[in-house]
């Protein structure tokens, strides 16, 4: 059997199961909306928006937060990680904070961020920034540490300066790990996005799901989850495409 056939068959089986559960009344629509309701909800959201803002505005708000938070966090984190990889002192000073921050559940320090930064976009984006930073830092640091000694020595023997060694040997070599870290960070940031939209907000896809969930509007919740799912896949693919092109070029 061709692989794509297997995929199609499984998909059909799942849809059939869904239809049977909902249309036969085995499961109330509160728990699992039938396809018709989901479609209506999607159309409603596209046409009328949610709570006085259009669906695209919600999606855009979420995306902007993710991109800015991730971008800033990954950039600063990578710089910090490179410094940590190069300078033992910086590593020793920064390591405790990075190591503490990395596994810390984001929702736990959310309240503190509001207290310090208010209820606007700043606290949300800061949360995402702090979620991306440690992972990127560790990835960059490991990338630097794992550069083959031999390569560096060859460059040195050719008379390259420290800076040239960094630009032409270390950085390209570390790029692969930096990107692995970046993809991990995007995943974490994306997950943290929902947490960040629990704070004062009237927008964002994550907030929409939470708000709809308050009144058990399962139809909106499901549509929102589907949107979030596809957005997540798109983000990951985008980063993968960038990685393939950049790392391939750098690897030359």
């Amino acid at each position: 059997m061709r692989p794509w056939l297997a995929t199609a068959l499984t998909a059909c089986a799942l849809i059939a199961l869904w239809l049977w559960l909902t249309l036969s009344g085995v499961v109330s629509d509160l728990f699992l909306p039938p396809p018709g309701e989901l479609w209506d909800a999607l159309v409603d959201l596209v046409q009328n928006g949610y709570k006085s803002r259009s669906l695209w505005e919600h999606v855009a708000d979420s995306l902007i937060r993710v991109i800015v938070g991730f971008g800033a966090g990954a950039a600063v984190g990578t710089l910090l990680g490179l410094a940590m990889g190069y300078f033992r002192t910086i590593d020793a000073l920064a390591a405790p904070f990075v190591e503490f921050l990395r596994p810390l559940p984001q929702l736990a320090y959310l309240v503190l961020l509001i207290i310090w930064l208010g209820i606007g976009e700043t606290s949300k984006i800061t949360l995402l920034f702090l979620a991306a930073l440690p992972v990127s830092a560790v990835a960059a640091r490991d990338g630097v540490r794992n550069v083959s000694e031999a390569r560096i020595r060859v460059a040195q023997s050719l008379g390259a300066s420290e800076w040239q060694i960094f630009v032409h040997v270390v950085f390209p070599s570390a790029l692969a790990e930096i990107f692995t870290g970046a993809r991990l960070a995007v995943g974490i940031v994306y997950g943290t996005l929902i947490a960040s939209e629990i704070i004062a907000g009237t927008s964002g896809i994550g907030w929409m799901i939470l708000d709809a969930g308050r009144f058990l509007r399962s139809d909106y919740v499901f549509v929102g989850i589907l949107i979030i799912g596809f957005m997540g896949i798109a983000l990951d693919r985008l980063l993968l495409a960038v990685e393939t092109r950049l790392v391939h070029w750098a690897g030359r």
Partner: protein
């Protein structure tokens, strides 16, 4: 294996952080009602150790959170590793199941928490399922990738030595894939630890996350900070333990 210099610098760093924290409150930069100082947090710790927090002991909360985290992760590992290995070896299994797994992977757990509570109740089960659903795709994908990247040379070498399919799997494929599987498990466990706190946001009656949220309702920033510090410390310990296990079990990772 850190040298003394690193240790000293690290301690200096942490000490500076603590001093800054103390000064923020002492100098009145932020009102102490909104940000408790180190002394208040310490007092809260002592109080909770002695009298508990709302009829729960600190140990109870710690065990509840860690217990949920491990339960969800464990279930995901037990199901995810075999499934991922199978999907790595069987094109059919991959074609049938991978698209579901890849859709679940980027889904933030908090987005479907309400649905899980609806389906599985307001007790521990919904939280454990949440953690399971967060960890499972990562582990399965890692196992799948692990199997796929096993060097063809090694497999052929084993075959030429007369190994059966089963021996080939047990002695060549699985150990080589173990490295990736373990990386996947590390990432999954870290994710589970983060999600368990989010899961304790709704209808929970114990756990470190619950403690933080419950305290936040009455603006007890001292307890909030205590909870954060404990969560951070446990997270670090978990992380370190995993790195240690990794180093001992998969020590040959560099060799290739």
């Amino acid at each position: 294996m850190r040298d003394w210099r690193s240790l000293a610098l690290g301690s200096l760093s942490v000490a500076t952080g603590l001093i800054v924290w103390y000064l923020i409150g002492a100098l009145g930069l932020v009102s102490t009602e909104l940000l408790a100082g180190p002394a208040d947090v310490w007092a809260a710790l002592v109080d909770i150790l002695r009298n508990g927090y709302r009829d729960t002991t600190l140990a109870q909360n710690i065990l509840a959170t860690l217990g949920r985290c491990f339960a969800g992760f464990f279930a995901a590992a037990v199901l995810g590793v075999p499934l991922g290995l199978w999907m790595g070896r069987s094109r059919m299994a991959d074609a049938s199941l991978n698209f579901v797994i890849q859709f679940l992977r980027p889904l933030p757990p908090l987005s479907y928490l309400v649905l899980l509570i609806l389906w599985f109740g307001a007790g521990d089960l919904s939280k454990i399922v949440l953690l399971f659903m967060g960890a499972f795709p990562t582990i399965a994908t890692a196992a799948m990738a692990g199997v796929r990247q096993v060097s063809v040379q090694r497999v052929q070498a084993a075959r030429s030595l007369g190994a059966t399919s089963r021996q080939e799997f047990v002695y060549v494929v699985f150990p080589a894939a173990l490295s990736m599987i373990f990386t996947g498990m590390r990432i999954a466990l870290a994710g589970a630890f983060s999600s368990v706190v989010a899961a304790e946001l709704m209808a929970a009656s114990d756990g470190l996350g619950w403690m933080v949220f419950s305290a936040s309702r009455f603006l007890r920033t001292d307890i909030i900070l205590l909870g954060i510090i404990l969560l951070g410390l446990f997270g670090m310990a978990l992380s370190r333990a995993l790195v240690a296990i990794d180093a001992r079990l998969i020590h040959w990772r560099g060799r290739e």
